[in-house]
């Protein structure tokens, strides 16, 4: 194994110190990424710690395939989430993973709280603590990136991870932005950085990674590259990107519209991938090491109202999930309104998905009279009216007044105070993803280790079942989701982008590891995946999590899915089976 991978860099922000620990056994046994990360979290995160306390660690981890194989482009972050009060896990691409690996680290653990705002510069030589007082309070996360990019020279591959105002103000779903258009999006890592007075982390490296079997490595790289480039995957995610999902999900009635008052638009939705590409697509980007280039930037040309013939062009990244949360969930009809809202959300550094679901809840709660102008500070939210939404997210990021302060903590908290829990669309404390496909989607959101649609992709099972004209028993569905989530733990340990899950089946993962001199077979990888999943569940139970205690909002049963109406009972049956599978005695 490359010795660099086994190096864990520890940073103590309270004392502005750092040190290295060599952990070869940890990386040998748990590969890297999420497998290593959850162990470091078990070690370093005190039981019951307040997520915004200095003791809450942030673990960044990469894996043995990082910087060596195509689409091995992600960094895993683990922490205790201020949003759910439990396990926080978020994945980010950009240049982050390659920069960490080429700087010579497998993982970085950040603890403590700096007395003054700082940003960190991490290189092979260690950590520099830079004064960030002049960066604190800047209105845009983009500006922070530009300033640091100019100030910090340095050759090689570099990532700049930073927070916006939302992170500074500890909005529990504040994100961390990388390379302007990529994110550690979900579960509030931005607030954890904010709580540590940590404005940004710059990581740069240009180390070389030795490979055990060069001929095998080169051959395998070529094989995977050719497969990736020749696959439907590349075409699908390169051409239209994830927004290609808008049209098919609308067609089957699985696209949440107006806080899930409906599952489709009548007629063509205004934000299809096809329409956005034709009208707005300005540039595509890739994460470092990935040939797909799924990142799509819209070029939004806007006139300055007071000056004739004067325009500004803004680049706004768009993806399926933000289109759902800030577009369809808000009953949007106007793509430019959506793009402008998305742009503001990016500058403030908020998770677009949670943010959209919060705004959707506000709109419905306002319509139903649960909250009024007194709470909203005179703003009148209504479906598709973007100027009001833009003002609302500004107030959320600033936590202005009691109402916006609660909205800054997600729909669960807001609904506990004002009512409307039956249409507060969060699962395990995390706002839902854009798939009203059937029981699989919701079982994933409820049971997934990070309450993300990507944990076990139940939305995909639902769509398979729809095509096949069948419906699985909840227990069978639960077992499928458990296996899939276990398999994804392996990918997230190596660390491979989940878009490449078709390319990297477990035998292929084993062949990649063999070329690096690490013998792993399919069976061992699968066992590891299950074990990692149980270790996460163990952490969650330690921190007070209970599957049977999860709240299931009524709204999801009121609107039929493409697989028919949902019942709470079938979801509870699925959860009971998942609880059995996740219990330590099954391991």
């Amino acid at each position: 194994m490359d010795r660099g991978l086994a190096r864990v860099l520890f940073v103590d922000l309270s004392r502005h110190r750092f040190w290295l620990e060599e952990r070869p056994e940890l990386f040998r046994d748990r590969l890297g990424g999420t497998g290593v990360g959850i162990e470091l979290l078990h070690e370093r995160c005190p039981k019951g710690v307040e997520p915004l306390a200095p003791e809450n660690p942030i673990v960044f981890a990469v894996g043995p395939l990082t910087a060596l194989f195509p689409l091995a482009s992600k960094t895993v972050a683990l922490f205790k989430s201020p949003h759910t009060g439990n396990l926080g896990e978020s994945h980010c691409g950009g240049r982050s993973a390659l920069a960490i690996r080429l700087a010579g680290y497998g993982a970085i653990v950040i603890q403590g709280r700096s007395e003054l705002p700082v940003y960190l510069v991490i290189t092979e030589a260690g950590v520099a603590f830079r004064d960030a007082r002049a960066l604190w309070g800047l209105s845009s996360s983009f500006t922070v990136g530009r300033i640091i990019r100019e100030r910090e020279g340095g050759a090689g591959l570099r990532t700049i991870l930073r927070i916006g105002r939302a992170g500074e103000n500890l909005v529990t779903y504040a994100n961390v932005v990388a390379e302007s258009y990529r994110h550690f999006g979900r579960l509030g890592l931005g607030a954890v950085l904010g709580s540590k007075n940590l404005k940004a982390v710059v990581i740069a490296g240009r180390g070389r990674i030795p490979v055990a079997n060069r001929a095998n490595y080169n051959r395998l790289y070529k094989e995977l590259f050719d497969k990736a480039v020749g696959s439907e995957l590349l075409k699908k995610y390169h051409d239209l990107g994830t927004p290609q999902n808008v049209r098919p999900l609308n067609a089957i009635g699985a696209l949440p519209v107006r806080n899930l008052a409906a599952g489709r638009y009548v007629g063509e939705p205004p934000f299809t991938g096809e329409f956005l590409a034709e009208r707005y697509l300005g540039r595509r980007l890739a994460c470092a090491g990935c040939p797909v280039a799924c990142i799509h930037l819209a070029a939004l040309r806007e006139p300055y109202p007071a000056e004739p013939y004067f325009y500004k062009t803004t680049f706004v990244s768009y993806d399926y999930e933000p289109i759902y949360s800030l577009g369809t969930m808000l009953g949007g009809e106007d793509p430019e309104g959506y793009l402008k809202l998305m742009d503001v959300v990016e500058h403030l550094g908020l998770d677009a998905m949670s943010c959209g679901v919060v705004l959707a809840w506000v709109t419905e709660a306002f319509q139903r009279g649960l909250v009024g102008e007194r709470e909203t500070g005179g703003l009148l939210p209504r479906w598709g009216h973007y100027p009001v939404y833009i003002e609302m997210v500004r107030r959320i990021a600033e936590r202005q007044g009691e109402f916006y302060d609660l909205l800054a903590q997600g729909v669960d908290r807001a609904a506990q105070r004002y009512g409307g829990e039956e249409f507060a669309l969060a699962f395990g404390g995390n706002e839902m993803a854009g798939y009203h496909t059937g029981p699989g989607a919701y079982l994933t959101l409820l049971s997934g280790a990070r309450h993300s649609h990507l944990d076990s992709a139940g939305y995909s099972c639902d769509q398979q079942d729809l095509r096949a004209g069948r419906k699985r028993a909840p227990e069978e569905l639960a077992r499928t989701l458990f296996s899939e989530e276990a398999r994804r733990q392996v990918l997230a340990s190596l660390v491979i982008c989940f878009f490449a899950r078709g390319l990297y089946d477990l035998p292929t993962c084993g062949r990649c590891l063999s070329a690096l001199g690490e013998p792993w077979d399919e069976e061992a990888l699968l066992a590891l995946g299950e074990d990692i999943l149980r270790r996460k569940y163990e952490f969650k139970v330690r921190e007070g999590f209970s599957l049977p205690a999860l709240r299931i909002p009524k709204r999801i049963s009121e609107i039929p899915t493409p697989l028919g109406p949902l019942t709470e009972g079938e979801l509870r049956r699925g959860l009971a089976e998942l609880e059995r599978l996740l219990s330590p005695s099954q391991g």
Binding site: D2, A67, L68, P70, L98, R101, L102, F142, G145, R146, A155, G156, L157, E179, S180, Y181, R206, G207, R208, I209, P210, V211, R214, A215, Y217, N218, Y221, F225, V229, L234, G282, R283, R284, L285, A286, C287, A288, G289, C290, P291, A293, I295, L297, F315
Partner: protein, 135 residues
């Protein structure tokens, strides 16, 4: 057949860096420590990229600047004689496009040899390896 590496359409570049990684794989290693090609953003990723690589000058300033004659002009581009090279870095200073890279570990320059490997891993038609008449 000798060939020359060309940046044919930089607007198509997505910053995947597969070219830089391919270059280091010549040595059977990961990373970009010994890559002779780099991609940089032009003031923010939304504004696009530049691909920095040797353009095979007909009168290469790097060769002219070398005080020990370690860089000589080849059919296409230049070749560095690493035995002769004293690691002074004059070639790096001399190249106005920044295409002389530096191998920190060895303290020697890295310059594209126009083998074309990177072009074969460029998925989006930014790079091309074109045959050169007469070599």
């Amino acid at each position: 057949m000798p060939g020359r590496l060309s940046v044919v359409d930089v607007e198509r570049c997505v910053d995947c860096l597969l070219c830089a990684f391919a270059c280091s794989r010549r040595f059977g290693e990961g990373g970009v420590a010994r890559s002779a090609i780099a991609v940089r953003s032009v003031g923010g990723m939304e504004r696009g990229f530049v691909v920095v690589v040797c353009r095979a000058c007909s009168d290469p300033p790097c060769a002219a600047a070398c005080p020990v004659g370690a860089i000589r002009k080849a059919g296409v581009g230049v070749r560095v004689d690493l035995e002769k090279c004293i690691g002074c870095g004059m070639c790096v200073q001399a190249c106005p496009i920044g295409a002389v890279f530096w191998d920190e570990e060895r303290g020697k320059p890295v310059i594209c040899v126009h083998c074309g490997l990177c072009a074969s891993f460029c998925p989006h038609g930014v790079l091309a390896f074109q045959e050169v008449a007469g070599g």
